[in-house]
């Protein structure tokens, strides 16, 4: 039985998004987040197999992302081609998201130092790095939570009337006309694919948390 506790906050976040999608009356979106939450719960309970898969080289990812990006920019929004491109991108990324990553090796000190000195130096460096990383993760989490709360409140209040929709626009409403324009869509697609590459590659150098 794997540890369920570390996965619980992420399962909770996915279920919260699932509820928002239910309010939006978007069956597919609700199902998507619900299935991912259930898969994580099953995984945390040890019911699903763990895979070990190395991330593809950056050059390969970029080579794949470029034609996908072109297809998404030139094809009509909400069309079949865009749907296929996004769906295939997700299917290609899923195994790399699911895979177990090896822990990051510790930085080695000068070989001239004694083993004890080196060990103490490594422990101190790792402790400092952990403090820095946790502080940074908390700072980013505060910004992310603030954005999510603002978006959620705007989404809920904005649904009540045309006036409140104007007064409390959701991020989707603000970005929709931007993505509709050609330059805006180029920027959005580039940012989306770039973020995907970062997410699929990140975590592989991380310490054993």
């Amino acid at each position: 039985m794997r540890t369920v506790l570390p996965a619980l906050p992420w399962i909770g976040i996915l279920l919260a998004i699932c509820i928002v999608q239910l309010i939006r009356a978007q069956a597919f979106d609700t199902l998507l987040f619900g299935i991912v939450a259930l898969a994580l719960l099953a995984d945390a309970s040890g019911l699903l197999p763990v895979t070990r898969l190395a991330s593809p080289p950056l050059a390969v990812m970029v080579l794949v992302a470029v034609p996908v990006g072109i297809a998404l920019v030139v094809s009509p929004r909400h069309g079949v081609v865009a749907g296929l491109a996004v769906a295939l991108t997700g299917l290609a990324c899923a195994p790399f998201a699911w895979t177990e990553r090896p822990p990051r090796p510790l930085a080695s000190a000068s070989p001239s130092r004694s083993a004890r000195q080196r060990e103490a130096q490594e422990e101190e460096a790792e402790r400092r790095l952990r403090v820095l990383l946790v502080r940074s993760a908390v700072a980013w989490a505060v910004v992310a939570v603030a954005l999510c709360v603002l978006e959620l409140v705007s989404f809920l209040v904005g649904r009540l009337s045309p006036q409140s929709s104007h007064d409390h626009p959701a991020i989707s409403e603000l970005l929709d006309p931007v993505v509709e324009s050609w330059p805006g869509r180029v920027l959005f697609v580039a940012a989306w694919l770039g973020l995907g590459i970062v997410l699929v590659r990140a975590g592989r150098r991380a310490p054993d948390a």
């Binding site: 979106d29 994580l40 989707s172 995907g196 970062v198």
Partner: protein
């Protein structure tokens, strides 16, 4: 009121920019974004959740229904 809401979003964007700036200056009090991502995404649950949400963003803006109708409209 609309300006206040948009201002809130922009404030979050500004806060993110400040965090990136703070993490890259000399004797930075924060770790670089890449290091933070590596720490967070070392957990498979975090990686699956964030990759899932990232994929949905693409679907939401490029394929699915992006803007919802107003109930009271």
């Amino acid at each position: 009121m609309r300006d206040l809401t948009v201002g809130g979003y922009l404030l979050c964007l500004l806060a993110a920019a400040v965090l990136v700036w703070q993490s890259h200056r000399g004797r930075a009090p924060l770790a670089p974004v890449g290091e933070v991502l590596d720490l967070v995404l070392a957990s498979r649950a975090a990686r699956v959740a964030l990759v899932g949400f990232w994929w949905w963003l693409g679907w939401h803006f490029l394929v699915g229904q992006t803007v919802d109708p107003v109930i009271g409209g």
